[in-house]
């Protein structure tokens, strides 16, 4: 084993142990804030792992969503949790934790060791070399309209996955909206330092979103990364104390929210009516169609993620 291989092996082992350690400590910690902070650190280490595993597209998505948006969502939820708990009159009593309950934990632990061993065995029994579907993707890449194989899979070869996925995102927002509103929680006013930071970072995030949207056609990037970046800009603005006004309940914003799902449905129907398969584009038009779809999806994903962070319908928030 030469120096290069040894270094790589140590690097991989450290990363793997770090991931397991962080996950365990995040899940075992007694304080919620500690659990969340450790989980954010876990997300960052996951991003490094994707970098190591040559998955740059995923690393971008993980940084924007796993480390950024999920962390912000969890931290904001913690603030709301405290507000809700002080607002509810019912005393928050802890569930009894006697020795018998602790003993019960051993059973799932033993069962899960079996599950883990089974999974590990099945992973180890897989062949060491497998091209998977990469040959097929490579052979058809020229007809897909884009140069990045991941984008080709997401928006052309398996476009129906992405179609459904956009709807899952939309459904999650409808679900959050249907749950009504919560008592107001603490929002710190932004000082001059934060304002300066936001003035620089928010436009930069929007610029980055445009860059990823454009770059996705031939390199790492695409609608998800761009949308998540746009969503992060929305979250940052909300953190600086900006609140969506009543105008956000009006038609133009709803149209933006629906742009992604609507374009997907339109294209799907069009391809079905013209006698092709679902979301099957002619090679000469595929590039422009995918760019259109991605642009719509970027705006929808960005706005949906920002709205998920806000947590309630803009008109509900106005009604208080």
């Amino acid at each position: 084993m030469d120096a290069q291989n040894l270094t790589q092996w140590i690097f991989d082992t450290l990363t793997g142990l770090g991931l397991l350690c962080l996950a365990w400590m995040a899940l075992a910690s007694s304080q919620l804030i500690k659990a969340i902070v450790l989980f954010v650190a876990f997300g960052l280490l996951m991003a490094l792992t994707w970098v190591r595993l040559d998955a740059v597209d995923i690393a971008l998505a993980e940084v924007a969503i796993g480390a950024g948006l999920t962390g912000a969502l969890l931290l904001a939820a913690l603030a709301k949790l405290t507000a809700v708990q002080t607002a509810t009159s019912k005393a928050a009593h802890r569930s009894p934790k006697d020795r018998a309950a602790r003993k019960l934990y051993r059973m799932p632990a033993a069962l899960l060791l079996l599950v883990a061993a089974g999974l590990a065995y099945s992973v180890l029994s897989l062949p060491l070399n497998s091209r998977g579907l990469s040959i097929e993707v490579g052979a058809n890449l020229d007809a897909s309209g884009v140069g990045n194989p991941v984008t080709a899979v997401l928006l052309n070869f398996r476009g129906y996955d992405t179609l459904l996925e956009i709807f899952v995102l939309f459904l999650a927002l409808l679900g959050v909206w249907s749950l009504g509103s919560l008592p107001p929680h603490r929002i710190e006013p932004a000082g001059p330092v934060l304002n300066t930071l936001v003035v620089v970072l928010a436009p930069l995030l929007i610029l980055l979103a445009a860059y990823f949207l454009w770059a996705g056609a031939h390199g790492p990037g695409g609608a998800f990364q761009a949308g998540a970046t746009l969503g992060a800009a929305g979250v940052l603005l909300q953190l600086a104390g900006w609140k969506p006004g009543p105008g956000f309940a009006r038609l133009p914003w709803k149209l933006i929210l629906l742009a992604g799902p609507a374009l997907f449905i339109l294209f799907a129907l069009f391809t079905l009516v013209t006698g092709q398969h679902l979301l099957e584009y002619a090679p000469e038009r595929a590039g422009i169609l995918i760019l259109l779809l991605e642009t719509g999806a970027t705006f929808s994903i960005g706005l949906t993620l920002a709205a998920l962070f806000f947590g309630e319908r803009p008109d509900d928030a106005e009604g208080r």
Partner: protein
């Protein structure tokens, strides 16, 4: 030269252990957030080093993203979740 980059990245990964220790020990929530901030900066640096080692220019985009998004999480902590 590639090996040097990888070795330095590995050393930086070790310094993440120090951050991890501080994130677990605390004692205040501010200390934990500080540790995550270090995680962010170190992750940016490791990504830049790996970008050179692998000869993959696109990894620099990841570094830019980590730099910005780590700030967003830190702001979320200060503005919302810092209660004690």
């Amino acid at each position: 030269m590639q090996t040097l980059h990888f070795m330095l990245a590995m050393l930086l990964l070790l310094t993440l252990g120090a951050g991890l220790w501080r994130a677990v020990r605390g004692p205040t929530a501010a200390d934990r957030m500080l540790a995550v901030q270090v995680f962010g900066t170190t992750a940016v640096t490791i990504t830049l080093l790996l970008s050179q080692a692998f000869g993959d220019a696109t990894l620099r985009d990841v570094a830019v993203m980590i730099a910005v998004l780590a700030a967003v999480t830190a702001v979320a902590f200060v503005q919302r979740a810092w209660l004690e």
